[in-house]
């Protein structure tokens, strides 16, 4: 559990932790960790990109105070456009994971007709 800097009552008790952090799905824990890192990186990168969008939107209006940036609420049209861009970003970053690769490193080219040997 994350550390709580408060002396107020929490009404929380000890939980039984999941063993999910010990899981190895990719044959090598390092590879698993790289994938986890990749997801976290994607999260941070998207948060940065989305913040920039807010900054740009706010600056397009008047005033550039931090409070204005924090309080800005996207319009429905902005949300739709940003979500579309988010999906494009995800497709770019993670689309390769859906690629059903079948050729081993030793695979030759497929047989072709014509063109000599």
């Amino acid at each position: 559990m994350a550390e709580t800097k408060s002396t107020r009552p929490t009404y929380a008790v000890d939980a039984i932790p999941s063993d999910v952090k010990s899981s190895v799905f990719l044959g090598n824990p390092i590879l698993d960790n790289v994938v986890s890192s990749l997801i976290a990186m994607g999260t941070e990168l998207w948060a940065t990109k989305r913040r920039l969008k807010v900054v740009e939107a706010v600056m397009a209006e008047k005033g550039i105070t931090n409070e204005m940036i924090e309080q800005y609420t996207p319009t429905d049209a902005q949300n739709a456009a940003w979500e579309a861009d988010r999906d494009r970003f995800i497709d770019l970053s993670f689309g390769p994971l859906a690629n059903p690769g079948t050729l081993p490193v030793s695979a030759d080219f497929p047989k072709r007709s014509g063109g000599g040997a």
Binding site: M1, A2, E3, T4, K5, S6, R8, P9, T10, Y11, A12, V13, D14, A15, I16, P17, S18, V20, S23, F25, L26, G27, D32, V35, S36, L38, I39, A40, G42, T43, E44, W46, A47, R50, R51, V54, I69, E70, Q71, Y72, T73, E83, R86, D87, I90, D91, F94, G95, L97, A98, P100, G101
Partner: protein, 391 residues
């Protein structure tokens, strides 16, 4: 800052929101209420723009996973089955399914990325609430003792071990983190969008509550929501039956505190008690309607039977019992659906879900003494038809 009034000041939804604001007209904002970045309807916006964006990413990733990546991986699973002479639609066992799925690295990559995304969802939320712990604990403290609803946190309440698991790998689960309710609420909003649809305004619980069957004599004075979580169904029931005394009970102290805080914040007078669904402490025959919302697949089968027994005890003759949960029964099935179910069980840490599927929940309710309505229908896609009454 967007507030509830500004958001619903548009033509769209104005009619439905008119009643909401009439209800709130005489209601003052609770003392100590924290709305760092305003609200979107009844949902408080997350406390920072970055946290909101991180959740937006994990939602987007979840959507992509469920659509593109799952299509690929399930295609690969079906190919592997066919190569072994197994019809993908043919029921097989978990063991048979895992032997094939585990051998495919791309299925494992899909699983791994899903898991990592789930961990990021929880971690970012938990980190934020803990970094601002004193502020949010103070808000709950201020809300604990004020209405319009009530909150009961019995001293020396014993939390059974079977409830202490980190369901959905949510850190601390429902009982072990002071912000379990906050974290659950924002995390599950993402689940809903990916699986069923938007639920930020309790749309799903409202729809279900709106369709809930009532006693044949029409009398609905008291309602109980067993294992109420963050009280979304409890609130929705009060909105449908505004004159009824509505109760929600849950094992998680942080969950009922958040339920109470949220209900107060939106001006709905419901009552919450930290209590076990199998031991609610209410008198016999007390309620006209007893319900629960996706609780039983998180319980061991023997606890499900105890909860049914308790539901029967507190439901008055002629009263209605409508527990909502997935279809159950059977530990075999087509490989793709078994894979999803196994995944939820083992790596989304739904530790009791296979126990739930080891019994036929609908039949267990009938064994508990309830009678099924003749026109009983499933209340949600994928759920069993379980509309019962106590003769």
């Amino acid at each position: 800052m967007i507030n509830r009034r500004a958001l619903f000041g548009t033509a769209a939804g104005a009619a439905s929101m008119a009643a909401f604001f009439r209800e709130r007209a005489a209601y003052a904002k609770p003392a100590g209420d924290i709305e760092v970045r305003g609200t979107m309807g009844r949902l408080e916006r997350l406390g920072t723009l970055d946290l909101e964006s991180q959740q937006d990413f994990t939602l987007g990733f979840r959507l992509w996973q469920g659509k593109d990546l799952r299509k690929t991986t399930m295609g690969l699973l079906n190919q592997a089955l066919t190569a072994k002479g197994i019809d993908p639609k043919q029921p097989i066992t978990y063991k048979e399914m895992l032997a094939i799925a585990d051998a495919n690295p791309q299925i494992n990559v899909a699983s791994k990325t899903w898991l990592s995304n789930q961990q990021v969802t929880w971690k970012t939320l938990q980190d934020y609430f803990h970094a601002n712990a004193d502020m949010y604990l103070a808000e709950m403290e201020a809300a604990d003792k004020v209405g319009p609803g009530t909150l009961e946190l019995p001293k020396d309440f014993a939390v059974p071990e079977y409830t202490r698991h980190e369901i959905h790998i949510q850190p601390g689960g429902y009982v072990g983190d002071p912000f379990a309710g906050h974290i659950y609420h924002y995390g599950t909003n993402s689940f809903y969008i990916a699986v069923i649809g938007h639920n930020e305004q309790d749309q799903i619980q409202k729809r279900v509550a709106g369709n809930m069957m009532t006693p044949s004599d029409g009398k609905v004075k008291r309602i109980l929501d067993m294992g109420c979580g963050i009280g979304q169904m409890t609130v929705a029931l009060k909105e449908r039956f505004p004159d009824a005394e509505v109760w929600g009970v849950d094992v998680g102290g942080p969950m009922v505190r958040y339920s109470h805080l949220r209900a107060n914040d939106i001006g709905i007078g419901v009552n919450f008690r930290q209590a076990l669904a199998e031991d609610t402490k209410f008198p016999d025959n007390y309620f006209d309607i007893v319900t629960s919302y996706i609780v039983h697949h998180e319980l061991p089968a023997e606890k499900t039977r105890e909860v049914i027994k308790e539901a029967y005890r507190v439901t008055r003759p002629g009263g209605v019992y409508t527990p909502l949960d997935f279809q159950s029964g059977g530990l075999t099935g087509p490989a793709a659906s078994l894979h999803a179910r196994w995944w939820d069980h083992r790596w989304n840490n739904e530790v009791w879900s296979l126990s739930y599927h080891s019994i036929n929940f609908t039949e267990e309710i009938a064994k508990g003494g309830f009678t099924q309505f003749k026109d009983s229908k499933s209340m949600m896609p994928g759920f069993g038809a379980r509309n019962f009454y106590k003769a």
